[in-house]
Structures are given as C-alpha cells and as structure tokens.
Amino acid sequence: MATAFKVEPAEPVLSVQGLTTSFRVSGDWHAAVRDVSFDLAHNETLALVGESGCGKSMTALSIMGLVPKPAGRITAGRIMFEGSDLVSLDREAMRRIRGNRISMIFQEPMTSLNPVLTVGFQVAEALRYHRAMGGAEADRAALDLLEQVKIPSAARRFKDYPHQFSGGMRQRVMIAIALACRPQVLLADEPTTALDVTIQAEVLALLAELKQAYGMSMVFITHNLGVVAAIADRVAVMYAGEIVEVAAVRELFRRPRHPYTELLLRSIPRVDRHVSHLETIEGQVPSIAAMPAGCRFAPRCPLREARCDAPPPLAGAAHHVVRCWVRSEGGGHG
C-alpha cells in the first residue's frame, strides 16, 4: 500500500480540467458530469467515490472518448494526456490511445467479454491493433498476460470461450486485456462489485500488484469505501455529477469535511464497531433534469443554510478541497 503523503511530480500523467458531459433528455441537454477537475500523478491511485448515477462512470467514459452518442457528448473542459487534449482528438487518434495508453475495465465481467470469440483472441486483439503484432506473436504475448493475471493452466484455456470461465476468472481476463499494451493509465470502473467477497480481495490484490509492476496510474471507481481504504492514495467524492471533496485517503477518512462524505463514511458497515443500525442517507439523488440551482446536496443536507441556495465552489487548501459553504471555511470539523 502506498503512503498517503508523497511528493507529487510537477507534471501529472492525466489532467482533467472543467470536464462537463451532457445528455439529451426529452430535447434538452443536461450535465451528467459538471465541471469535474482532477490531476492524476505518476503511479498514483485516485478513487472516484459516490452513489450509482453520480457521474463517476461517465467521467471515466469521457476520458476514454466512449460517451454514448448521440444522446451524450462532452460539452466543456479539457482532458490533458501526454501533451494533447483528448477532447479535441479525432476518432482515429483517440482509438490509438484507447486500450494502448489508457485502458478501462468494467463492472460486469459476465457480459463484458464477447461470447463468440475465444478468450485468447480477445486478449491478443489489442496487441494486434496497437503493437502491429502478427497472429502467433500476439498469441504468445496474450498467453503470457493470462499467466500474469494468474489464470490457472492458461495455455490449455487459451482457446476457451468466456462462458467456460467463472466471474472472477473473467475479470482477470478483462484485466489482461486492459494491461496488454502496458498503459500509462488504467480506469477501473467498479471492477470487483459484481464478484464474491473472497474473489474481490484476490482481484484487488492482483490489481495493486500489477499497478506496481507496470508503474501505472489508476482511477478506481467505486461506491464501496472499504475498497477505497484498501487500494487508493487519494479520494475524490462525487455527488450528482460534481466533485464535492478531494483529499488523501487517510485525511478523508479521519477528517471528512463535506456533509455528504461524512454520511457516506457513517454508512460503511464496520466489524470493529458495534452499531445497531447502519445509517442511510435520507432522500434521493436529484434527477439529471431537475438539479437544484444552488448546492446540489442541499435538499438532503442536515447542515443546510440560506447561502446554500447559491452554488458553492470547490475550495480549501491544496491537499484537501471541499465544495460546501458551511464547511469550506474555518478548518475541518471535530
């Protein structure tokens, strides 16, 4: 596990600046991701945390250039990577980056692999396109990858189809596909959510190990704060399409400042603390077409004040920023 306080290199690997991704809902465009900014340092793991529908997956898809068209599009912002802005790249240039310099793994291992193509082929495919490898060479490299993600008797299973693998094994295959070209950045969208708890731990350990071995940076998307504690260096909490708090993982767990983060932390089931009931957050995430004009969390917030009717900025010291009128001034809480 990486230390929470490390010296960040001057140049981030990936820099998302003011990203806004909008969707068309019955004729009008609404922002599903609004003004999201973050930097990802070399070999850093940033966790994007939030409830489902808060825009964390859409942020990752925006980085990949995979926002579903024509219903959605990036309406503002820049995504700086290796000296170019991914938002303004053409299709072909973006394709050459996907699966090569930036990779993504998805939540559903059961449906994310193509049922009619062999596992070996699906791993080798990325190498064929990005490394211009021939069939045999790509196959050899793919087999090597399957061994690295610890698929038992990988050589024998190379020509098997996805339905012959278990969920955990399929997610390992997904990881092999994502890592095939040794990407700079790995976007992991809830990669362990669909798996059994024991398998979850194995896959997380594998990801952490490979991240070190490959020297990658990782954006880890999850709603599970327990997983965040195990894998992340820094955490960005998202709510209703916006980042509401960013801090190093220990800092955030010890001194959460945004009321939403606090509530999230209190809703984690913990073995070391006997609680009679888990706290749940009252109310619902506002729908994309009916966002409050001011602070988006205000309708559910226990600390709501009059000034919350205006949208709060993301503010605070560099190592800990928060989007809250009440909490952004006068230091942390407690």
């Binding site: 995979l66 394709r95 699966g99 990779s103 449906t111 994310s112 193509n114 009619v116 193509l117 396109y129």
Partner: protein, 313 residues
C-alpha cells in the same frame, strides 16, 4: 461438435414422427369416404372398393396410421393415382429446380438483408433507417404471387429481359440462370425484407452490449467492431428467422412456381390438386414433413456453428 450433431439428429426423430402424424391427421380429416370424394357420386361399388383397397382406407384407422408412418420412414411415399409413378421419382425429377430456387433465394435474402439491416441499425433513427424500415415492411407485405406478377409484367412482358415461362433445360448454364433470375429475385426480396428487419433489431441490441464497449475500449477500429464483434452475435436471431422463413419460403415457392411456370415441388402440388391426385398430395406432404424437420435440424446446427455456448452447453 460431433456429439452436438448426433444429439440434434436424435432429437429430430420425435419431431419427424410428430410432423408425420400431423400430415396423417390432416389427410384423414375429411369426413366420409375418400374414395367417394375422388370418384364422385356416379362411381360403381366395385370401383369404390378397388380404390379403397388401393388407398388402404379399408383397414382400421390405427393400421392405416402404422402403415403410413412405416412407409414414410422407409422412403415409400406412395405413388400418383394418375400416372402411377412413385412420388419419390416425381420429386426427384424436379429437385434441381427447387434446389436452385431455394439456394438462390436464401443467398439473395442474406446478401441483401444482412448488410442492409446492419447499415440501418448503424444509422438508427436517421432518414435512411426510417426508409429501410418502411421499405422492408412493404417487402414482407407482398404475397409472393403479387410480387411475382409485377416482376413478370415489368421484366418479362414489358422489357423482355427474361423468359415468361421459366421452365427451360438445366444443362445450359446461361439458360438455367436466365430462367432462375426472376423467380429467385421474387423469393429473395421477400426474404431480404425479413432478414433486414431482424438483422436491424438484433444489431441494435448487440451494439448496446457491454462487450461492444469493451471492444471499443481496447481500441478496436469501428469496422472490426461491427463485422467481427457485433455481426456474429447479431446473426444468432437472424438464423432463427431464416429458419422460420424457410417455412414461408416453401409456401411462397408454390406461388412463385405458378407465376413463372417453373417446375418444382409447388407445381407438383398444383398439378395434383387439379387432377384430384390425393395419393400424390399425401406423398408431397410427407416430402414437406421431411423438409421441415431437415430445416429445423440445419437451423440448430447453424446455431452450434455460430454460438459456442450452444455447442458446449
């Protein structure tokens, strides 16, 4: 794969028996005496009795059933009341025509329908997609004789590009093709309409699948995403429809053969109908029973070929 094929073959046997039983029931559905129906009211008792014996309807119904099934299974499909020739020989004689027509129609239907449906799906809700949907709906609204007559009028009678009677000899390849063209187009466009629609909807479904997103995420070019990752999955329901359509094709080929005056199974049926040749008709139904089961079998085997889950499942 071999195990799968054997399994399918074994499963085809009860289906064949069931379809043959249905044919038997349909043929025996008529109330009263078939001999009387064939010979009419004026027939003598001796003639009626002789015909009953020849038809085998003087026996108890269960014996008739057993005889029928046995005969059907060993390839004894009866003989024509009119010509006395075995049904099998009659069918064998027109088989090349039927095979030509069916294969050409399926090829045309697939070659037009699959790309058109894919193209339509990729341009979902654009003008081109709406046009394709309406035109394919129009295409599958054509009774085969209506489209046949319109084709005949335009290309054989007005433009004279093709013969009005598509009977010609089979040994001259040019002649054979000229005779085949219009009937094949007639069956092919109706089939293309079905294939287009099902390809479109199944392609739309596949394009929304997670594994397509995975393919894009690993940087597979659009063309390979469509042809390698999407189409093979999208074809699984298309096979079902082609299988179902072969039933419609069998019916439509009867109408097509009438319009273009082309020899084939359909023409045999119409001939038998006109001459009240009931044994011939019954024999032809047995042929259809075998055809239907064969089509189902081929459909199943195609699944095994396209979808690895079926083969191993």
């Amino acid at each position: 794969m071999i195990r799968y094929i054997v399994k399918r073959l074994v499963f085809a046997i009860p289906t064949l028996l069931a379809v043959l039983t249905l044919v038997f029931v349909l043929v025996r559905i008529v109330p009263g005496d078939p001999a009387q129906t064939i010979l009419g009211d004026q027939a003598s008792q001796e003639a009626l009795q002789a015909l009953r014996q020849r038809l085998g309807v003087d026996k108890p119904i269960f014996d008739q059933y057993v005889d029928f099934i046995k005969g059907a299974l060993v390839g004894n499909w009866g003989e024509s009341l009119v010509t006395g020739r075995p049904v099998l020989a009659e069918v064998w004689a027109v088989l090349p025509y039927t095979v030509d027509l069916t294969v050409a129609a399926i090829l045309l239907g697939a070659l037009i329908g699959i790309p058109l449906g894919t193209w339509s799906a990729l341009h979902r809700n654009e003008a081109i997609d709406y046009a394709t949907r309406v035109i394919s709906l129009l295409g599958l609204s054509f009774p085969a004789f209506v489209s046949g007559i319109l084709l005949l009028l335009a290309f054989a009678i007005e433009l004279r590009w093709f013969p009005v009677i598509s009977a010609g000899k089979l040994d001259d390849p040019v002649e054979r093709l000229r005779n085949l063209t219009l009937p094949a187009i007639n069956l092919g466009i109706i089939m293309a309409a079905y294939v287009t629609r099902v390809t479109r909807s199944s392609m739309l479904e596949v394009l929304g699948e997670d594994y397509i997103r995975t393919a894009r995420a690993k940087g597979v070019p659009d063309r390979a995403v469509i042809w390698r990752h999407s189409l093979r999955n999208a074809l699984i329901p298309v096979v079902t429809v082609v299988g179902l359509y072969l039933g419609i094709l069998i019916g439509n080929s009867v109408l097509t053969e009438i319009v273009f005056n082309r020899p084939g199974l359909g023409k045999l049926i119409v001939g038998a109908l006109n001459q009240r040749d009931y044994t011939m008709l019954q024999g032809l139904m047995v042929v259809y029973a075998f055809l239907i089961v064969a089509v189902n079998l081929i459909t199943d085997l195609t699944y095994g070929f396209i979808d690895p889950r079926v083969k191993h499942g």
